[in-house]
Each structure stands twice: as structure tokens, then as C-alpha cells.
């Protein structure tokens, strides 16, 4: 435990903060640098990033596998569409409503799910994803959901007379929500709550012995995770301007799970990498082969899982550590002791 090590760690944090600031500036500048179509694509990346973050809280940190988050995404999206289309609500309230609604649904679903473990839970949640399109089509709620035809939403213009295209404005709006959601998640996960959530995953009995109320924590985690997904669902509906049962096929839920594995399980930054993957790789696969785009997509999946077992986030972390190590070893050779020191901590 040398003083230099502490200094090094503070330095690392400073680096991280600086890096994050640069990244954020870049993200905010992006809509002014690329075409509206690209802005739309990156907007979807932001939306997916929120979903993946929510799913990661549940599956990555808390260890409850969900193959049903597409259903929560659908609930958020339909809440937004129905409020805007049928009741004339403004778009900017809908993420809050979608999120709140999904929190309730998620919490309620989380209660019985307490009894299920591992594969059973995964498949019970998958049942939810499978049933969702059929429920949305059901004739007795057609007057709200629009049945099989879905609901078309009008894209909002930029407010306050800002000289922005609707795409640019919506992107910035989403980005602001992303920043808030990520900050909240980061705060939640690094503190007491986060440690309890992880402890339930790794050592449930020990956690219980330490006084963690497992049942409550697990169902609230389910609710929070669904809340994130619901917020994203509402945003996604506004961005795409359309909801229909076909938009929320079971494949969507599977895609989300793939997203967190590729991005990095139990990692906050992993949500962004995963979102980039599920947004861009399918198009890329389509460009390579019209005959069998899914085969190319599958090959990409395999390649990522083999080459980056810890997801992209894990890979980046490793690369960063190696870079720093070689960097400090060459530039400041006398500090070799500090490196040694770090290894022992």
C-alpha cells in the first residue's frame, strides 16, 4: 500500500472522468456532424443502451436471467403511443409514464419469479415475451392498441424555436435521459444497494445472513430493470413513430440478452457496446449476404463470444490495463515497486 499507488488510483479516476467528459461532448456533437439518417440510427443505439443497462442490472448484477424484456419494452412503447395518439399527451411525459408502469409490472412479475431459478426463470420470462404480441392483438383491447394495425405517432419538432431537425432534437432529448439513467444506475450499483444486489447473485445465503431482505431486493431489482426498459420503450416508440405487435416479436428479447453478453455482463459501459452491436451488426450481415444474413450474424456472435469472453467491456478493460502497465513500466521505470505493490493489493 504505497502512497504512489493511491496517487495512481486517483490519477486513474481523473483519467476516467476526463474520458467520460470527452465522450459525452462527442455524443452531444454527433447529431451536428452526421446525416439525419445516422442520427436516427444512433438515437436507436441510445434507446437500446437504456434497455441493456436495465437488463444488465437484473441479469448481470443480480443474476436473474430474463428472456422477456421485449415485453416490458412493448409495454413502455404502447403506453407512449396510446397516451400520445388517443389522449393527446406530449411526448416528453411518456418515458416517465412508461417507466412507472413497467416498474409496477416488473415488480409484480418479480414476486412470483422469486420462486424460480436459472433456466426456469429464463423460460418463464420468455413465455411473457412470446405471449405479448398475442395480447396486444387481442380484440377487446383493440380500441386502445389499434390491434394488428398498430398506432402511428407524429414525430415531435424541436421546442423553444430551436433550429434543430426533429431527428437532432429527439437524439439530444434521448441523450439527456441516457445520462440521467446511467448516472442513477452508477450510483445505485456502486453503493450499499449495489453490493447487496451482487451479493444476492454470488452468495444468497451469506447475503441473507448479513441481513439483506432477498425477496424484497430481488423483486425491486426486477421492477427497476423493467422501469429502465419501459423508459426506453417509450422513447423507442417516439423515435420510430410506430408501434405494432410485429415490432415486439420474441426475437427482440433474445436480441437484448445477446446485447448484454456481447457488451459485457455486469458492466455499465457494456450496455453501450451491446447497443452498438445489436443496432449495426444485423445491417452489416445483410450487406455481406442476402442469401443467409442470419448465418453471418450468428458467425459474428460466435466470434465475439470466443474472442471477448468478458464482452467488449471486459476486453476494453483488459486492453486498458495492459496499456497502462506497459506505459508506466517504460516511462517510469523506477516505479516498478508500485506496480508490484498494486499486484499484492
Amino acid at each position: 500500500m504505497g502512497a504512489s499507488d493511491r496517487k495512481g488510483r486517483a490519477g486513474a479516476t481523473a483519467w476516467k472522468v476526463a474520458g467520460l467528459a470527452v465522450l459525452l461532448c462527442a455524443a452531444a456533437a454527433l447529431p451536428f456532424l452526421v446525416s439525419n439518417y445516422r442520427v436516427f440510427q444512433f438515437n436507436m443505439v441510445l434507446v437500446y443502451a437504456i434497455v441493456l443497462l436495465g437488463l444488465n442490472i437484473l441479469t448481470g448484477y443480480n443474476g436473474q436471467i430474463s428472456l422477456g424484456h421485449g415485453a416490458f419494452y412493448a409495454i413502455g412503447a404502447y403506453a407512449a403511443a396510446i397516451l400520445m395518439d388517443r389522449y393527446g399527451w406530449p411526448y416528453w411525459v411518456t418515458p416517465a409514464v412508461g417507466g412507472a408502469l413497467c416498474f409496477v409490472f416488473g415488480f409484480l412479475f418479480g414476486l412470483p419469479a422469486l420462486r424460480l431459478r436459472g433456466h426456469y426463470l429464463a423460460l418463464a420470462t420468455f413465455a411473457l415475451a412470446v405471449a405479448m404480441p398475442q395480447i396486444l392483438k387481442y380484440k377487446h383491447i383493440e380500441q386502445w392498441t389499434g390491434g394488428v394495425q398498430g398506432i402511428v405517432i407524429i414525430k415531435p419538432d424541436a421546442p423553444f424555436g430551436l433550429k434543430l431537425t426533429p431527428d437532432q432534437w429527439l437524439y439530444l432529448f434521448t441523450l439527456a435521459i441516457v445520462v440521467v439513467m446511467f448516472a442513477v444506475a452508477w450510483n445505485l450499483l456502486r453503493g450499499r444497494t449495489g453490493r447487496a444486489i451482487v451479493a444476492i447473485r454470488d452468495h444468497p445465503m451469506a447475503a441473507e445472513a448479513m441481513g439483506v431482505n432477498i425477496a424484497l431486493y430481488k423483486s425491486v431489482t426486477f421492477g427497476v430493470s423493467a422501469l429502465y426498459t419501459g423508459v426506453a420503450g417509450a422513447l423507442g416508440a417516439v423515435v420510430v413513430q410506430f408501434v405494432a405487435p410485429d415490432s415486439f416479436a420474441p426475437g427482440l428479447s433474445i436480441n437484448f440478452l445477446v446485447g448484454i453478453v456481447i457488451g459485457g455482463v455486469a458492466s455499465i459501459s457494456g450496455a453501450v457496446y451491446g447497443a452498438l452491436f445489436i443496432q449495426f451488426v444485423p445491417n452489416f450481415a445483410d450487406q455481406i449476404s442476402k442469401a443467409a444474413p442470419w448465418a453471418i450474424y450468428g458467425a459474428f456472435l460466435l466470434a465475439f463470444v470466443y474472442l471477448m469472453p468478458g464482452g467488449v467491456a471486459g476486453f476494453v478493460r483488459l486492453a486498458w490495463m495492459r496499456l497502462r502497465r506497459t506505459g508506466s513500466a517504460t516511462s517510469t521505470a523506477p516505479q516498478g515497486a508500485a506496480i508490484q505493490d498494486r499486484r499484492t493489493t
Binding site: 441479469t59 436471467i65 412470483p112 420462486r115 424460480l116 431459478r117 436459472g118 433456466h119 426456469y120 429464463a122 423460460l123 418463464a124 420468455f126 413465455a127 411473457l128 412470446v130 405471449a131 398475442q134 395480447i135 392483438k137 387481442y138 380484440k139 445465503m205 433474445i254 440478452l257 445477446v258 448484454i260 453478453v261 456481447i262 455482463v265 442469401a291 443467409a292 444474413p293 442470419w294 448465418a295 450474424y297 450468428g298 458467425a299 456472435l301 460466435l302 463470444v305 470466443y306 469472453p309
Partner: protein, 290 residues
């Protein structure tokens, strides 16, 4: 009453279909502790192989036997080559690999064989047994073959040293290794067996639903449900679960809620069963040791 009986028999027939694939799922679970999402697509691909052989002029039973053999080898090969690298990886990575396999098999089958439906011959007589109108000979055949497979597999896992070794390898790899069992190969063997069982299931299912790349997506869903209801680690339970789901689904659709929500209601019931018995009706109850 006749209509009701008809629904029940029709449910038993589709239940046999679910049961046969559920059996393959249980097979992999018993030997590797994983649920293979690609099981249905692997079975579909095996069926295409059989179709190609029959199309090339091979007699049915030759094609049948060859397909089972080839599928077994392919299953072993997939485990050795594709699953092996993630053997000790977290369960989510393995699930992702399964999903990758699923989309690859589906896509490649469509690419090679196109998406138009194809007929697949049945080895059973065209005329229904005893001239009944409730169930065709092929449907009875499906049920029969599934039950025979079940008995054989049960005997294999219960009474043969190899079967015992496979179970040991899945349940406690470390101890099994100490007892001299080559765990890696046991896993591969499990994959081979599951692929072979899946191939038989595929060849039984195809005459009923027609052969096409997406033929298994619906069946797999119900097979999952069947395996869960019955208990994913119990072949008997899975088969029984298959029949249960098949009949339940028909009766609900025809008499209770109508067809528009029958899938939803069936799933709710299954989750309901799981809440009362979290490891399925016949599943082993987990005891966690601290």
C-alpha cells in the same frame, strides 16, 4: 362429446410431437446442464438431410438410420468444436452460443433448401388404424416411437455404466473426473445422443407440420413448456408434460378462451404450475448445501 374426444386425441397427437423434442432437450440437460435453444433447428437440419437422402433415391429406413448416425456424429462434433471453448464460461455466454447456432442453422437451411414447404414421407400406413377418425396412423406412430425412445433412454441412463458415467459427469464434474470418467467426452456423447434423438423427433414431426426451415420454432416453444412442466431433468416428466401441454392447449382453445389467446393462457397455466412446483411436476427438488 365426439368433438371433445376429437380435441383430446388431436391434442395427444401434437403432444407426442412436443414430447419427442422435449426428450432431446432433457437429454442435453441431463448430460450438460444446459438448455439447448438450437435443439429444434438442429433437428430441422437433420430432417433436411434425411429428405435429401430420400430424394436421392435411398430407401426410407436407410435414410432414417443414416440420418440418426450422421446427426449423432455432428452433435459430438458441435460439442467438441463449438461448445468446448465456452465449457467453463458463464451460462449467458453459452446461451449466446446456442442462439448463434439457432440462427446459423435456420439461415443455412433456408439458403440451401429454400423456404417452400416440402412433404416428408411417413413410415406408417396411410389409412388410420381400425378405421378410426380421431387419430391417424402416423400420429399414433409418433406417440409410440416417443414412448419407445423414452424407455430406451431410461434404461440407458439407469442401467448401463456409460449412462451412469454421463449422469455423473453432468452432476458433479470434479468428482466424476476423480472417479476416472472422461468428463469432456461424456458431454460430447450427451450432445451426440441429443442430436440423434432430435433427428428422430424431426423426422416424426415433419410429415405432420411439413418440412421448412421454421418448422421447429413453434414446436420448440411448446417443447420447452413441456419440459418445464414435467421437470427438465426427468425424461418421464418431459414426455408426460408434452402430452399435457398438447391436450391442455386444444381444450383451452376450443372450449375456454377461444383461439386468439390460447397460447397466452397455456403459458400462464404453465407458469402457474411452476409457481406451485418450481422444478416442474416431476423435477428433482434442489437442495443447496452451504
Amino acid at each position: 362429446m365426439e368433438a371433445f374426444l376429437h380435441q383430446v386425441f388431436s391434442g395427444l397427437a401434437t403432444g407426442g410431437v412436443y414430447a419427442s423434442l422435449a426428450l432431446a432437450l432433457v437429454m442435453i440437460y441431463q448430460s450438460t446442464n444446459h438448455i439447448n435453444f438450437a435443439q429444434g433447428e438442429m433437428a430441422m437440419f437433420s430432417t433436411y438431410l434425411a429428405w435429401a437422402m430420400i430424394h436421392a433415391g435411398l430407401p426410407y429406413w436407410w435414410a432414417f438410420a443414416l440420418t440418426v448416425a450422421v446427426s449423432f456424429v455432428a452433435g459430438v462434433a458441435i460439442e467438441r468444436v463449438i461448445i468446448r471453448p465456452v465449457e467453463s464460461a458463464p451460462v449467458l455466454s453459452v446461451v449466446t452460443v446456442f442462439i448463434a447456432l439457432l440462427v446459423i442453422f435456420n439461415s443455412v437451411a433456408g439458403w440451401i433448401y429454400s423456404y417452400t414447404i416440402k412433404t416428408f414421407p411417413s413410415p406408417f400406413p396411410e389409412q388410420p388404424l381400425f378405421g378410426n377418425r380421431f387419430i391417424s396412423s402416423h400420429e399414433l406412430g409418433v406417440i409410440g416411437v416417443t414412448l419407445v425412445m423414452l424407455a430406451v433412454l431410461y434404461a440407458f441412463f439407469r442401467f448401463t455404466p456409460l449412462g451412469l458415467a454421463m449422469r455423473a459427469a453432468a452432476q458433479n464434474a470434479a468428482s466424476a473426473r476423480l472417479a476416472g470418467i472422461r468428463v469432456g467426452w461424456m458431454l460430447a456423447l450427451g450432445w451426440g445422443l441429443a442430436a440423434a434423438v432430435g433427428a428422430v423427433a424431426g423426422m416424426l414431426i415433419a410429415p405432420l407440420v411439413y418440412l421448412e426451415p421454421n418448422m421447429m420454432s413453434g414446436v420448440l416453444l411448446y417443447a420447452f413448456a413441456a419440459a418445464l412442466v414435467g421437470g427438465i431433468d426427468n425424461p418421464f416428466g418431459a414426455v408426460l408434460g408434452g402430452f399435457l401441454v398438447g391436450v391442455l392447449e386444444n381444450v383451452i382453445g376450443a372450449y375456454v378462451i377461444g383461439t386468439e389467446l390460447k397460447l397466452t393462457v397455456a403459458l400462464v397455466l404453465i407458469v402457474g404450475v411452476l409457481l406451485v412446483r418450481p422444478t416442474g411436476l416431476f423435477g428433482r427438488v434442489f437442495v443447496t448445501r452451504v
